[in-house]
């Protein structure tokens, strides 16, 4: 039942916040904040329980809800939580709280509708992580789309309509292809067993011809590749990031990517082990291309938001490399990178948003030399730039290191090229710090430093990254435990 509450609290909180905005904007913000925080507390309680007793249990799911939904088609409302989804839900809700907080002063128009959309996206993302029924998964997957479209198209800057429509069309077409794949799997399972079901655990091990398995796998892959996003399906992300507000960027680059990575880990390999292994060299090549491509383009951007978006593409390509490398080491690295990237890229977007809020420009050329007027913000920015370039001791380093190690075992050449991507990250991250914060202050800028609320949020993110970098064990343990109950995750 607690899983249902996770979703219901967000959906209801969004509605309440929208209603409350009529009386006073502050009510709305506080209601949204308390709904997401309540969810975070619920998730933390489950995490604490899991660490206490989880290892003794033999059940694959720590918690589940399993109801009839549309029995005529074998569709069930089946939610289940295991270690993998727990980790990602914690990340989602933490970033959810962050998004509400950073919207506090940035968003001033249609506040009620804004928070409704924000909370409903979070509900959709959590639905994706919890769905065991593939129909429900698709439903939640699509549920994220419309609110995200609104967030970009209403509260974005110039070119927002173009970016929002592009985002919607890319993701909708790719997810419809996934819908066809889901249905093909459903009928293939019925053909083999005579049972109509969308149940994930039942569909595992459905006998498929290699040909059919490859096509169905590709249907899933394309949906995840667009959302991650992977070269060459990535073009919507920089456009969207350049147009959207700070909190929206956080959701786009950190959380939607997380759902895609989750989909690859949960569905691609377990459902189609042979097809995915056959396809792995292609996917790994795309990933390596994406790593370098993202890094090089990030280096040449003048728009701050686009720079971070391309850097994010580079990091997310690492995630796909890790997933397709096909060994536990790289997979653990991928999970760690997803979480660390969510925090560090999210924080970079926050920094960029804070700069844009103060300078009213995102053009790097117009910035420079603000270290003296904003020492705290600049220091924080340097920290996250270092995290992004893979400084040992921080979460990103652990993840990417493990991915490279795992890739090295299967393909030395790809590991070597991908390692160049880490090197390239040094260039764009340091260029960002030098151009924006150091050098001569020509304008000259006189700007307020970090406010308390910003400092609190960014400080928490620093602590989390350090924790992930220095004591990553809880993350690995939670994931390993989930994988032990579901051997298919390890393949």
């Amino acid at each position: 039942m607690i899983l249902l509450w996770l979703i219901v609290v967000l959906l209801a909180g969004g509605l309440l916040a929208a209603l409350a905005a009529r009386s006073h904007p502050l009510f709305c913000r506080w209601i949204a904040l308390s709904a997401v925080s309540l969810d975070l507390v619920l998730a933390l309680v489950m995490a604490a329980q899991d660490l206490g007793f989880g290892s003794a249990g033999t059940n694959q799911w720590i918690e589940q809800v399993n109801w009839n939904w549309i029995p005529q088609s074998g569709i069930r409302f089946h939610l289940g939580l295991d270690g993998l989804s727990l980790l990602l839900i914690l990340l989602t809700l933490f970033l959810g709280v962050v998004s509400v907080l950073i919207s506090w002063t940035e968003i001033t128009k249609a506040i009620g509708f804004y928070h409704l959309n924000l909370l409903w996206i979070l509900a959709g993302i959590i639905g994706v992580f919890l769905s065991i029924d593939l129909f429900l998964f698709y439903f939640a997957w699509e549920l994220m789309l419309v609110p995200m479209y609104f967030l970009i198209s209403i509260w974005g800057s110039e070119r927002r309509a173009y970016a929002a429509v592009k985002f919607f069309l890319f993701t909708q077409l790719s997810s419809l292809l996934m819908l066809i794949a889901i249905l093909a799997l459903y009928f293939a399972h019925h053909h083999a067993t005579g049972v109509y079901t969308f149940e994930y655990t039942d569909l595992l091990g459905t006998p498929l011809s290699p040909h059919a398995a490859m096509w169905i796998m590709l249907g899933f892959f394309i949906a995840f590749a667009v959302k991650l996003p992977i070269f060459p399906f990535h073009t919507w992300l920089p456009d969207a990031c350049a147009a959207a507000s700070t909190a929206t960027n956080l959701l786009l680059a950190s959380l939607l990517a997380t759902t895609a990575a989750y989909g690859m880990i949960r569905f691609l390999f377990p459902l189609f082990p042979d097809a995915a292994r056959t396809f792995a060299p292609v996917a790994m090549t795309l990933a390596v291309v994406g790593i370098l491509y993202g890094a090089i383009l990030a280096f040449s951007q003048t728009d701050l938001m686009r720079l971070i978006a391309y850097a994010s593409i580079s990091h997310l390509s690492f995630v796909m490399l890790g997933i397709f490398a096909g060994n536990p080491l790289a997979l653990e690295g991928a999970v760690m990178t997803v979480i660390a990237h969510g925090i560090s890229t999210g924080a970079l977007f926050l920094v960029a948003g804070a700069l844009e809020g103060r300078m009213h420009t995102r053009d790097i050329g117009a910035m420079g030399g603000v270290w003296d007027t904003m020492p705290r913000l600049s220091g924080v920015a340097l920290f996250f730039a270092l995290a992004s370039l893979g400084l040992p001791g921080l979460g990103d380093f652990i993840g990417e290191f493990l991915i490279l190690l795992g890739t090295y075992r299967v393909n030395v050449a790809m590991a070597a090229v991908a390692a160049c991507g880490v090197l390239a990250a040094t260039f764009y991250a340091l260029r960002f710090v030098q151009r924006v914060f150091q050098g001569p202050n020509l304008r000259p800028w006189q700007l307020p430093d970090l406010a308390f609320r910003e400092g609190l949020v960014l400080g928490t993110m620093i602590v989390l990254l350090l924790w992930l970098g220095l004591f990553p064990e809880p993350v690995f343990q939670t994931f390993t435990q989930a994988a032990m109950h579901a051997p298919s995750l390890w393949r």
């Binding site: 128009k109 439903f139 419809l176 249905l183």
Partner: protein
């Protein structure tokens, strides 16, 4: 004809009687509200009667089965919604208002006859009753150029397509010697020495007649002009009741007459479906008139329905029925919004009329958004499950090419709907905000919109009860 036969025909009789009662009431004294109230009562009584009338074949002409009763209910509910929309719309305008309801009832009756027909004679009868009432409805405000043009266009094209249909029926009759669907199916299945030289042209002509009514490509030319010219509630009626009744008939004919077993027929339907999906969605890209965009999108939706029709069987038939239900809800909802926003002088059909609507009337803008997203097939709405069932039906028989085209074209369609949605959420310039007076409120139309919204989400989130009804309805067909 026995008393039980008459009882079985009660839904039809009630609607027919109501039209006469309204006619008499108008003769006694004109009163818009009385005519409106009588119409609503008659439609509601007809709907209520579908719950208990006996199921039977009434003469060779009409069959009252669960399938017919399901579509009776759907069509009566849709006419009810159209009447509610029309009340406020007519109030704003000059001229006689009461005859509108008589024509609406007659057209509804025609669609119901189509649905229940098991014989070519009733097919033609129902079609003509429906069409003749529609000529008048489309040109109801005949003193204005646009409705008049639309009415005349529809009259000429509908009359010639009816001629095709009659000729086709004659050719098929010449070959088979029967006009009964079931007997025709029997002959097709058992008789090996059929004269295909008569049968195929006959079938092609029948398809032409039906294709015109459904606005399938290449018989779609009239749609944008008629949609644009007709008063918004009438457009809603043309898009739902008229097309829905025809599609219900097509499904019955296709399934019962065994037409689906001929490869050339299937091929023709595939080509028509693909052409409709592409043409409808592509042409909508270049339109700036909301009614015309909806016209083109309805062409595409009929194409999606054809995909499910071709799949056939229990899955295909229930996919058609569910999609039609969803299509009714979202189309009526979209036109309810157009009706609500229409002023005294003209209908709110320009894209510009919708720019910044969210900032002026957030409730209506959100409702319109829901309807448009449902037309695009986004979850939480009826349109999503409708598309899901069609794709599922296609996947079950391995019609990959058709469903791939459906997916691609519906993404193009999404772009068209997003153009309207995007316009609604754009911030209007401050001066325009003050300059534009809001149309007078119409509580009946707002009520309709709210109810349609509830049904839209209900169908999209928890359709179990509806699916049960649909499955029992389509089972009686197969």
């Amino acid at each position: 004809m026995t008393a039980v036969d008459l009882l079985a025909l009660l839904p039809l009789l009630l609607v027919a009687a109501t039209s006469i009662v309204v006619l008499v009431a108008v003769a006694v004294g004109r009163n818009h509200t009385v005519a409106f109230g009588l119409t609503l009562a008659g439609l509601a009584a007809g709907f209520w009667s579908t719950y208990f009338v006996p199921l039977r074949q009434v003469t060779a002409l009409l069959v009252i089965d669960r399938y017919a009763l399901f579509f009776f209910g759907l069509i009566l509910a849709a006419s009810f919604a159209v009447a509610l929309m029309a009340y406020g719309y007519l109030e704003k305008r000059e001229g006689n208002k009461e005859e509108f309801y008589i024509l609406l009832l007659v057209a509804t009756l025609g669609a119901m006859v189509l649905i229940a027909s098991s014989h070519f004679a009733t097919l033609f009868l129902g079609l003509e009753v429906l069409s003749v009432a529609l000529y008048a409805l489309i040109a109801y405000f005949g003193d204005r150029p646009l409705p008049l043009e639309a009415g005349v266009k529809y009259l000429v094209l509908a009359a010639s397509s009816s001629a095709f249909l009659v000729f086709g029926i004659a050719l098929v009759y010449a070959d088979l010697g029967t006009m009964n669907f079931i007997q025709a199916a029997h002959l097709l299945a058992t008789n090996t020495d059929l004269n295909l030289g008569l049968l195929l042209p006959g079938t092609a002509m029948i398809v032409t007649g039906i294709g015109f009514k459904l606005a399938l490509v290449p018989f779609h030319m009239w749609t944008p002009d008629v949609y644009q010219g007709a008063p918004a509630p009438v457009t809603a009626f043309v898009a739902t009741v008229s097309k829905g009744g025809m599609f219900a008939l097509l499904l019955r004919y296709f399934t019962q007459s065994g037409m689906g077993q001929f490869a050339p027929v299937l091929l023709v339907f595939s080509i028509i479906a693909v052409a409709s999906m592409f043409t409808g969605n592509l042409l909508a890209l270049f339109e700036n008139n909301v009614k015309r965009i909806l016209a083109y999108s309805s062409i595409a939706h009929m194409g999606y329905l054809l995909v499910a029709l071709e799949v056939g069987g229990a899955l295909g038939a229930s996919a058609v029925a569910f999609y039609l239900m969803a299509y009714f809800v979202m189309t009526l909802g979209a036109f309810a919004v157009v009706t609500l926003l229409s002023g005294q002088e003209r209908d709110a059909d320009q894209l510009e009329d919708y720019r910044g609507l969210f900032w002026r009337r957030p409730g209506i803008a959100l409702a319109f958004t829901a309807m448009l997203l449902s037309l695009a097939g986004i979850p939480l709405t009826a349109g999503f499950l409708g598309k899901f069932y069609i794709v599922a039906a296609g996947a079950a028989v391995g019609a990959w090419v058709l469903i791939l085209i459906l997916v691609i074209t519906s993404t193009i369609g999404l772009f068209c709907y997003l153009r309207i949605v995007t316009a609604m959420y754009q911030q209007p310039p401050a001066s325009a905000l003050a300059a534009e007076p809001l149309p007078r409120r119409a509580p009946a139309a707002i009520l309709v919109l709210a109810m349609l919204l509830v049904v839209l989400v209900w169908l999209g989130v928890y359709p179990t009860a509806f699916v049960n009804v649909i499955q029992s309805a389509t089972r009686s067909l197969i």
